[in-house]
Assembly symmetry: C2
Homo-oligomer: 479 residues x 2
């Protein structure tokens, strides 16, 4: 029982120490473990099952838009990484270098991919020749390595899992359309599946991806008021094409450069789910992503007929949702705590009295609300309740997010907001990098994005320097 005890021990309250609460939940919900490789994590079954559901749902949505999956090598020769100037500057300081193969030193060292633009370009260079070969809309699921100094499970880790889409198009317009399409796909996925509202917008020059012409982003707000960049989509224009010589002959038989995009989402999303929805009892998983949606927990399971009935209910529920039965020899109280720690959206309590009355008790993980339901109705009620929970979780997260957006009209208001009002700060910006740098240095807030949809003009002047303002920016401290 020693192990069970550990699991349900009180975790640090999120209001006391949010960072420690996060670490506790990750550990006690069985999502990850530390490894002997510093800065790399072990993703355990409960964590990996969430990633599998993310993969399945994203991959389905990708394929509906014509994406095809491929696999590129995990190594990049140093000379290839060096082809595009901005890109290598962005990544070279944080890559892992392979210098020996077997017992022999390599002629040229190889880095472990931090991202694969250069490999896709190297491939497209030969694979694309005519307009008939376009567009290429490729994606790969893999792991990448970035030699971070400070690491935290899911949020920042030397190796992480992701997907990276890399596309090539005949025209600038088509590349731009794909960049936006994928950002919107990411946003819809976060909102519909992860119940996590996001702000869609463009990164400033300072914050954009190394080598990109434009980077679009979705930004989510965590429970502690810090932002998390949750997915990005980059338009490269023809910059990489020119650096790598990726040309095609158009219908008039003229040589043209392709226009490229890339876009990615990572295991970071699991960190986002934890920090948007979790509470002091542990994880709270949105039903659409939960590996187990319903846990059936028998009460007095040794009494005749209880376990059989619980099994029957689990089997019936298993046909309409992802349902499991906890028939271990732990007490019901332990089982409740475990189900709560793991964030399973609904628990079904079923004891001898319930069976007598042909009923069971449904308990929502998110609100703890209990409903008594006839056993005849359980297959109808549970799927509906899962949808209600999904919707409510999104609405609650949105209300929390919206309650944590502060408008700042000048630098005093800005600094006050950073200090006292956790969340996004909306403030106008002159467009100068100097102001971004100053804000970051003095307040630790960064520009999260220039939103697409609500470019209100809340003031005429830059929130930092007071010069004429160009753009509304969402600012905030971020993970």
């Amino acid at each position: 029982m020693a192990k069970d005890k550990k699991l349900v021990e009180a975790i640090t309250s999120m209001d006391v120490d949010f960072a420690q609460w996060y670490t506790d939940v990750v550990k006690k919900a069985g999502l990850t473990d530390y490894s002997s490789v510093r800065g790399c994590m072990v993703i355990k079954p409960a964590g990996y099952a969430i990633w599998e559901n993310i993969q399945k749902e994203l991959d389905r949505r990708f394929k509906e838009t014509g994406v095809e999956n491929v696999y590129m090598p995990m190594f990049i020769p140093e000379s290839l990484l060096n082809v595009e100037k901005d890109h290598v500057e962005g990544f070279a300081p944080e890559v892992a270098w392979v210098t020996h193969g077997g017992l022999n030193p390599l002629q040229e060292r190889l880095c472990v991919r931090p991202t694969s633009e250069t490999l896709f370009c190297d491939f497209y260079k030969n694979d694309i020749q005519s307009y008939r070969d376009l567009p290429k809309v490729y994606n790969q699921w893999c792991s990448v390595v970035r030699w971070e100094k400070e690491t935290r499970p899911f949020l920042r880790s030397r190796e992480f899992l992701w997907q990276e889409g890399h596309t090539a198009h005949a025209t600038a317009e088509e590349a731009e359309a794909r960049t936006v399409q994928m950002l919107n796909l990411y946003a819809d996925f976060c909102e519909e599946v992860l119940a996590m509202p996001v702000i869609r917008g463009q990164k400033t020059e300072k914050e954009k991806f190394a080598g990109a012409e434009a980077t679009y982003t979705i930004e989510a707000l965590m429970h502690d008021g810090k932002a998390l960049q949750s997915g990005t989509s980059h338009n490269f224009g023809d910059g990489f094409a020119k650096a790598f010589g990726i040309q095609y002959t158009d219908k008039e038989n003229k040589l043209q450069y392709v226009h490229q995009t890339s876009w990615g989402m990572t295991t970071r999303l699991i960190g986002a789910i934890i920090m948007v929805h979790g509470d002091d009892s542990g994880l709270v998983l949105p039903p659409h992503i939960a590996p187990t949606q319903v846990m059936v927990i028998p009460i007095q399971q040794r009494k005749e007929g209880v376990l059989e009935k619980a099994q029957e209910i689990q089997e019936r529920l298993g046909k309409v949702c992802r349902a499991k039965l906890d028939d271990s020899d732990k007490s019901p109280g332990w089982k409740f705590s475990e189900q709560e720690m793991r964030g399973i959206p609904i628990r079904v309590e079923l004891g001898p009295k319930d069976i007598e009355n042909n009923q069971c008790v449904l308990v929502r993980r998110d609100t703890r609300e209990k409903t008594v339901v006839s056993l005849d109705e359980v297959e109808n009620v549970v799927p509906e309740l899962l949808e209600t929970i999904q919707k409510d979780m999104f609405e609650r997260a949105k209300a929390h997010r919206d309650a944590h957006i502060t408008d700042a009209h000048n630098y005093d208001e800005f600094c006050d907001a950073v200090e006292n009002k956790p969340g996004f700060i909306r403030g106008m910006w002159c467009g100068d990098r100097a102001c971004e740098d100053k804000i970051k240095e003095e307040t630790a807030a960064t520009s999260r994005c220039m939103p697409f949809n609500d470019q209100e003009h809340i003031s005429d002047v830059c929130v930092c320097c007071g010069k004429p303002a160009k753009k509304l920016v969402y600012w905030g401290k971020a993970y």
Copy 2:
């Protein structure tokens, strides 16, 4: 049109040069491409889609037996690789070493995983404490790196994709049962899904996995008479547990070592599919694994109503199988060649005359047999035909395999068989490594396995040395 032309150019005949035929098919069916990283391949959409189907089907079968997926780091610290003596001897000579992270040399160099026994052991060491924590039946899908000197797409490549299962059990019996269970799962998968008959058996001491007590294998026969090891399952006993200190307290509160297994299948299987079923027109995919099972090809598609009807048929077929429509502006002849090169099991030809007669023509890829079918019947006939093709392909591969097994009773017969009768050679063995070594050196044949199911006693003496025989062995040249 230049590119299409390349695709349908005659490929080298398999009887003229099997190795070149293989390379041609891999390239022209669009499965892989070379990369700038020597010895590593780019897996293109047509190749990766086969791998996705392999993954989907294997993963489903794994989970039915209680397997849970996890993810371990891709790096192994040198000291960790060194813990188990036989294991490090087997792998150290062929690993890639990371020596620098970012701009700094690492304190300890890390190898890129060639396989992950050591990482799983390191994890289990802490994660397993009581008998309640057992069994652990974990698997991961990832890529691994082995610094091979000679490489060929799918068959031998410095990086390849695979799954690796790693389990820990309370007893030796349970570990043995899991080792056999997974080997049988692999064998059933190969036979039912890839239409590829396999011999199930045990590897000799010489050929077993580095660190294993016993290695079980499935061996398939390629069209050219060479064997391909297609999946292996290892029983480690408590060897790794003792080296790593993986202990649990049993029900009597006594410390015990766990018993472990591992098992893996790789992208090699795609090479096997090619070499078992392919022909001089290209790939021939078994329907159960084919990403596209049916290609609808309109004839005279510009004539009124043809394209619409073809689309309708594709949509109707799309509900009962994986069907696509080739409505590109190539000629029907090109499209036929492409469909054949890509190994799509059935093509549906549909022209104005067919439509007039409310019919279409189904052409099997494997036999080229044509059937005229009423359009009213097409959704019923096609799925049945796919099953027939699957079954026929297995039977043909089995007949070919069985026709290429030669019994050798002495060394002369053995050498004659290696020289003149491509395929498996069944021959008795005394159990001495010296005989295996001699056979390998003099004939290039190796012991493939000691079969489980047909341990006939075909002779009293070893086929090599003439001493008393212990075991029947399948021998052969292998990939």
